[in-house]
């Protein structure tokens, strides 16, 4: 590739080629920039701005309070409890998604006969609407007429129905399980795609070198999966951390605030307590935490 300097023979009165290309480029990205500003930059700035006021949601009127919202939040037990819940939920559900996802991917990678069919079946939870999925799970978990309790009692594992969603730590465990069920297909697809691109020669070389099945998994498969797993974990961390609908629909953050995560707290502050300023402050704090993962992801994506 070679680059030429600005043309010196351009006809007078006409802008140089570089300038005209520059203008065309600006014109082409303008729509994207405008949309980006309208849906991302404006809400972001307004959230930061609103966080400095005490605002009554229905009227959107209020007064300047400076950092008071942040001071109140950081001093309250509820914020820290929600953050802790958020971390427990994210770590728990993500760990299960990754472990289960890798196992299923390895199984699908081996089984050639049913692979196409099984792969579409595995994707089912991921494609299902969250509302539908959660309603089904609530019915399964129900302490009065739920199938799960019925089966457990029939098998003699419990002798009283278990309250899956109304007590702690059951509610958090149920939440983590449903989250893992809903999102493990994402891990399966990413890992399976990578598995299929690992050259057979590596496995053959390893078996000639004396590695057994476990040795080949540890020394060939896992190192080859490392990069894709890092990206999957970072993406899923971001997405699980901000998960709202699944938690809201399954437990609503209850019992009391037992499963309330930060996104649910934002919602509660804004629309249950009518504190738009406080809600914005929680959202800003959440954003700062997620920014950390974002930076990690971007620095990963760059190599």
């Amino acid at each position: 590739m070679f680059r030429e300097g600005p043309a010196t023979t351009a006809s007078p009165g006409k802008a140089s080629l570089d300038t005209r290309y520059g203008l065309l480029g600006a014109l082409l990205i303008a729509p994207t920039v405008l949309v980006f500003c309208a849906v991302i930059v404006y809400p972001l700035i307004s959230a930061i701005y609103l966080g400095l006021f005490s605002i009554y949601t229905p009227t959107m009127e209020g007064e300047w309070v400076g950092m008071d919202n942040y001071r109140r939040l950081l001093a309250s037990g509820e914020f820290w409890r929600s953050l802790l819940n958020n971390v427990i939920w994210t770590v728990g559900t993500l760990a299960l998604q990754v472990i289960f996802g890798i196992l299923v991917a390895l199984m699908l990678h081996r089984n050639l006969v049913f692979r196409a069919f099984a792969r579409s079946l595995v994707l089912f939870p991921y494609f299902l609407s969250t509302v539908v999925a959660v309603l089904v799970w609530r019915w399964l978990f129900n302490d009065l007429y739920g199938v799960l309790n019925h089966l457990l009692m029939w098998a003699g594992i419990v002798d009283m129905p278990v309250d899956w969603l109304g007590t702690m730590p059951n509610a958090m465990v149920s939440l983590i399980l449903v989250g893992a069920w809903k999102y493990f297909p994402f891990v399966v697809i990413a890992v399976l795609a990578r598995l299929q691109s690992i050259p057979d020669e590596l496995y053959e070389a390893a078996s000639i070198d004396g590695a057994g099945a476990w040795g080949r998994f540890v020394d060939v498969t896992l190192p080859q999966l490392r990069d894709v797993l890092i990206v999957v974990v970072l993406l899923r961390t971001i997405w699980d951390f901000k998960e709202f609908d699944l938690i809201y629909l399954l437990t609503g953050g209850g019992p009391i605030i037992g499963t309330q995560t930060l996104p649910l707290m934002v919602y509660k502050e804004a629309f249950a307590l009518n504190q738009m300023g406080g809600a914005s402050a929680v959202a800003v704090l959440m954003m700062l935490i997620m920014l950390l993962f974002m930076i990690l992801y971007l620095s990963r994506a760059r190599d």
Binding site: P199, E201, L202, E204, A205, A206, S207, I208, D209, G210, A211, G212, G215, D219, V220, P223, Q224, R226
Partner: protein, 362 residues
Amino acid sequence: MAGIRFDQVSKRFGGVTAVNALSMEIQAGEFVSILGPSGCGKTTLLRMLAGLERPSAGAISIGGAVVNELAPAERNVAMVFQTYALYPHMTVAGNIEYPLKKRRVPKTERAGRVREAARVLELEALLGRKPRELSGGQQQRVALGRALVRDPAAFLLDEPLSNLDAKLRTHMRAELIRLHRRIGRTMVYVTHDQLEAMTMSQRIAVLNEGALQQFASPQDIYARPRNDFVAGFIGTPSMNFLDGRLEGTGADRVFRSGDWSLPIGALRLADEHPDPDRRVRLGVRPEHVRLDAQGEPARVILVEPTGHETILVFDYSGNEIVARMDGEVSLEPDDSVRLSFRVAKLHLFAADDGRRLNLDDS
């Protein structure tokens, strides 16, 4: 160090026969090439030897013991892959050390053996690098090092030089010959490149369509090809073939093709040709075609000078004949010349099954 024996070995994939009832014996310490066109079964043969494929029939022995039921790790063979198959997340030292680690060689001994292999292959300065930081030739040497460090009974090499550029290939060829001379281990080398096979091997096994065509020294294969496939496959440019029939016997024997005939009384045949039509193929190596004022008329079609020699294509009584001549020959397309063949160097093959008819001194 161990010899290798294939006894009636076959491999079928579904309805396709990749290797067909192949028997051959490789001596301990020998450098043998398995040579053939793409899809001739040579890689399958090597993979069966390594234990990566199971033979459908027959027995494979290494060092006198049948290894059919042994896993790759139990056969004490090392393999170098065409793509090198280095472990990308391990350093050069880690790659070379891996087979020792898996065989539970004590750590102190491992370090010494890795250093020794690295010294032999001149990899000492690269031990801390990852494979992706190495050139193709260096990766090749690491793959060799991983094989060398184990001190295996036999080395199996699957087209190890085909991913290198031409200059490096020549260099690595010489390196491999030197390595074989120094360590004296049995080496089985699969290639489709006859130059590699001819220059490196003590014996060459020529394969076609899953069947062994000839297993002999490079000189033998070139001078006394056992059939027309081997004759046509070995040698660049390829041997010229003329189809015709034999007339007469003994010193009066004549090869006739259309209205053109060639007295070949000087050529000794192993026996009288059983085909009543006496149909044969006459084989002429390009270097055995010469300009001769007493010869048959021919017309130059193409001139390809390569420097020290010139490849010429002639129209010779309606046949295209390729000749290899001195680089100083000055001929132009459409020139008329006269050609003759060195009769004592001609090859005769049966037209029906392609077997060699010449009587060879041996």
